[in-house]
């Protein structure tokens, strides 16, 4: 078994347009390294992230999903990140119930000025998910075929 050495997790990071996506850009501008396993999807606000998207990601074989939004109180749309926080609390406890390790999902607040925090968060998250190994729990076999 050489799985652990070879294993490259698939990680999706949902980033809000105003803070975290800009924070990710800043990490790039400052040439701060984090693993290429992280792929970012831009959304207008963390409250745009439907729990369905996360379930879909896990169904399609993602090993980890991280949501990044503005710090509490700093949401561009005033209250969006609060909605996201509440929804994700519920979703995460449901994922836990389904047997998806809770370390595979995370919510982080990253501001537009926190490039270093973005890179550090991603490094740490990838490390955590890599240790957990491949996520098989929610894999939809029908999805595997394509």
């Amino acid at each position: 078994m050489q799985v652990n050495n070879e294993f490259k997790p698939k990680i999706i990071a949902f980033c809000c347009n105003w803070c975290s996506y800009a924070g990710a850009d800043l990490a790039g501008t400052n040439r701060l390294n984090y693993p290429a396993d992280v792929k970012i999807i831009r959304v207008p606000c963390s409250c745009r992230i439907n729990p369905m998207f996360i379930l879909r990601a896990f169904q399609r074989g993602a090993d980890g999903v991280i949501l990044c939004g503005c710090h509490p109180g700093d949401c561009h749309y005033t209250s969006g990140n609060y909605f996201a926080r509440r929804r994700m609390t519920l979703l995460f406890s449901m994922l836990d119930y389904l047997g998806i390790e809770k370390e595979r999902t995370r919510v982080e607040w990253v501001s537009a000025a926190e490039g270093a925090k973005f890179a550090a968060t991603m490094n740490e998250f990838v490390e955590t998910v890599t240790k957990l190994g491949e996520n098989k729990r929610l894999e939809d076999l029908r999805c595997k075929e394509n």
Binding site: Y21, A24, G28, F53
Partner: protein, 663 residues
């Protein structure tokens, strides 16, 4: 049938250095629907844009994916190019392969693989993009400037000059800000009051400018072009329209022991006061914390002596609501508190002062009428030590990591002026580096050293200890001669770091404008959009955005004004078309979306529906006001029936991206 074009940018070597751009273009050519795929050194250049335009026309493209820098950088550029070639701008998607790929990965195969996946995700999304048309919203032709220091004043004057009404909301009883407290200004040594007070008067006299002094912004609603702002006019217990500013109340007020904040507590004022002689508006204010009449109803002297009958002890805070098209933040700075730097004995000795206190001591309108006297005993100091970088460039966690930018120059000014006025004084300046990057700045600093004989010593002061004879023992190291120095000083002046005003953070929350970790407002782009906040309609003026000297502040203030004028001359603004919309057939009228909408953009109405069995049903359904919706998407997730979706970021689009990445 979709016909998608893919355009991969090299960005010189920025992308091509770590991503095999040719391989990306080749790989993406194989994606479904892609009819054209090519790479080019600079997609944003005219030739690059022409390549996109030509491809759109030649291949009748129905969508375009640009693999390039962040959409925050050039999305607008490429959308514009698409529009000019006849493609709806919202059929363009950007795959960010620079900031989020080539710049963070060093290994070419890894980065190339990631770039291909990001490209595939963008292609999957663009398959589902729909052409969108931006709506229009009107512009309220009035600007708000928050705080009236030199930055706010300059911005307001420039906007007013262009013919638009401007309101200045100032927390203090007078406009003028920190600059009113300064004595002379570098590098020309002209007096601050001489150049500032005429501008303050201009503000008061300009018919386009309204000053709300002693007022605060308490609430901001709306969006660019249509802000609704609540301003709290704090009770000053003096009728502004009646007060003539004669000052007789301030002479007769028996409560004379109130620390005078204008002189940083170095002398006292009365409970009813006018901050300084040139205050604008020149109106008295009663300090409710110290006024006996307001505290316990015993006194009333000021009302008796006021010939204009302007004193009104029953005045209440008043809230007014006003509409604005643009908001300029000019909240400025404050020196940091020095309680964490007790090695300099600031709290122990009156003769250890900050540079701003030094300004007051040398100012003719200050507590000593411009005589440089020790605060402890009123004697002339003969040895003065200036300490630079107190709390600036400090990575220990006590102070600020950034450079406060103005201290090197004002210290050179202080040292020079001291030596000029009192040639018998020895002046020492301890510094880490002397930073003089400005027009005529280095010449100014050299004059302090060469002509005025100021002793500049590279090294930091370790400790200041008050001695029994009233002098201060300054222990420091000279890094060039590698010696430990002990100087007996009469006065120690600390160049305290500057930090954003405390009101900036709650204000940023109200404005939904972003801030950095130091509480300075973030600009939309550090180089290309330095006076705009990422939040549309919010502009930045002066030190609220970062440390600045007066010349820089004034240029930025004028730049912000130019941007505001550019906005206010428009009659209509194009709205963001990426807004929510409700599928009325799926909507069950539950009101979940309405409850989470922060803008009140969702309303319900009864509508007639022709049912499949040819009957007519009346159902309560949601509809979105597109001019009000800002496109956050909160409602789309709250909707239990899946009727609500967001244009440009639809459920299907985002899931297509998820699928493409997970493949």
């Amino acid at each position: 049938m979709q016909k998608i074009g893919v355009f991969v940018c090299h960005c010189g070597t920025n992308i091509a250095g770590t991503v095999d751009v040719h391989a990306v273009a080749e790989a993406l050519k194989e994606e479904p629907g892609v009819v054209f795929s090519a790479d080019y050194p600079y997609m944003c250049s005219e030739a690059g844009q022409n390549m996109i335009k030509d491809a759109i026309r030649d291949y009748q493209l129905t969508g375009a994916v640009i693999c390039s820098c962040s959409p925050r950088m050039h999305e607008a550029t490429f959308r514009k190019a698409a529009t000019s070639a006849g493609l709806n701008p919202y059929l363009v998607e950007i795959a960010n392969i620079r900031e989020q790929c080539s710049w963070i990965h060093k290994d070419m195969p890894t980065a190339t693989e990631k770039a291909i996946i990001l490209g595939k995700a963008a292609i999957a999304k663009v398959h589902l993009n729909a052409p969108l048309t931006a709506g229009e919203s009107p512009v309220t032709k009035r600007a708000l400037v928050i705080r009236g220091g030199i930055a706010g004043i300059q911005t307001a004057l420039d906007i007013a000059e262009a013919g638009f009404p401007v309101d200045i909301v100032e927390k203090q009883p007078t406009i003028g800000g920190k600059m009113t407290q300064l004595d002379k200004t570098f590098p020309t040594l002209d007096c601050a009051a001489c150049i500032l007070t005429p501008k303050m008067v201009d503000c008061a006299q300009n018919e386009n400018i309204k000053i709300y002094s002693y007022s605060e912004v308490t609430d901001v609603k709306g969006f660019v072009g249509n802000f609704r702002v609540t301003i709290k006019r704090k009770a000053r217990y003096v009728d502004e329209t009646k007060c003539t500013g004669c000052g007789i109340c301030t002479e007769k007020c028996p409560m004379k022991k109130v620390p005078n904040e204008f002189n940083l507590g170095m002398n006292n004022r009365t409970a009813v006061y006018i901050p300084f002689a040139q205050a604008v508006p020149k109106v008295a204010t009663i300090d409710p914390e110290h006024c006996n009449m307001l505290k316990n109803g015993k006194c009333g002297v000021c009302a008796k002596v006021c010939t204009a009958g302007a004193i009104d002890y029953k005045q209440k805070d008043e809230f007014i609501e006003q509409e604005y098209g643009a908001i300029v933040v000019a909240t400025g700075y404050n020196p940091i508190k020095l309680d964490r730097y007790d090695e300099f004995a600031y709290s122990q000795s009156k003769d250890v002062i900050t540079s701003l206190e030094f300004e007051r001591l040398t100012n003719a309108a200050g507590p000593t009428s411009g005589q440089l006297l020790r605060p402890s005993d009123g004697k002339h100091p003969h040895t003065i030590v200036f300490v630079q970088c107190v709390g600036s460039r400090d990575t220990s966690g006590c102070g600020k990591e950034y450079c406060s930018k103005i201290c090197c120059m004002y210290t050179a000014k202080h040292a020079m002026l001291t030596r000029e006025k009192y040639p018998d004084t020895d002046v020492y300046v301890f510094y880490i580096d002397v930073r003089t990057p400005g027009k005529n700045f280095d010449e100014f600093y050299r004059r302090a050293v060469e002509e005025y004989g100021v002793h500049y010593i590279k090294g930091m002061v370790g400790k200041v200890a008050p001695r029994a004879d009233g002098t201060l023992l300054v222990q420091a190291s000279d890094l060039i001669s590698n010696e430990q120095l002990k100087i007996n000083a009469d006065l120690v002046v600390l160049a305290a770091a500057i930090e954003p005003d405390k009101t900036a953070r709650p204000l940023a929350t109200m404005l939904t404008a972003s801030m950095d970790t130091n509480d300075f407002f973030t600009e939309a782009h550090p180089k290309l959009r330095p006076v705009e906040s990422p939040t549309a309609g919010i502009f930045l003026s002066g030190t609220c955005q970062g440390p600045k000297d007066i010349p820089e502040t004034v240029s930025q203030a004028s730049a912000a004004a130019a941007k505001v004028i550019g906005l206010l001359v428009k009659d209509k603004l194009t709205c963001n078309p990426c807004v929510a919309h409700s599928d009325e057939w799926m909507c069950n009228g539950c009101s979940s979306c309405e409850k989470v909408c922060p803008y009140g953009a969702i309303t319900y109405s009864d509508k007639e529906f022709k049912m499949p069995d040819r009957t007519i049903a009346i159902r309560r359904v949601a509809s979105v006001n597109e001019a009000v919706c800002q496109g956050c998407g909160a409602c789309t997730v709250a909707c239990p029936s899946g009727a609500m979706d967001l244009k440009g970021f639809s459920n299907r689009q985002i899931m297509a991206e998820v699928d493409a990445i997970c493949k």
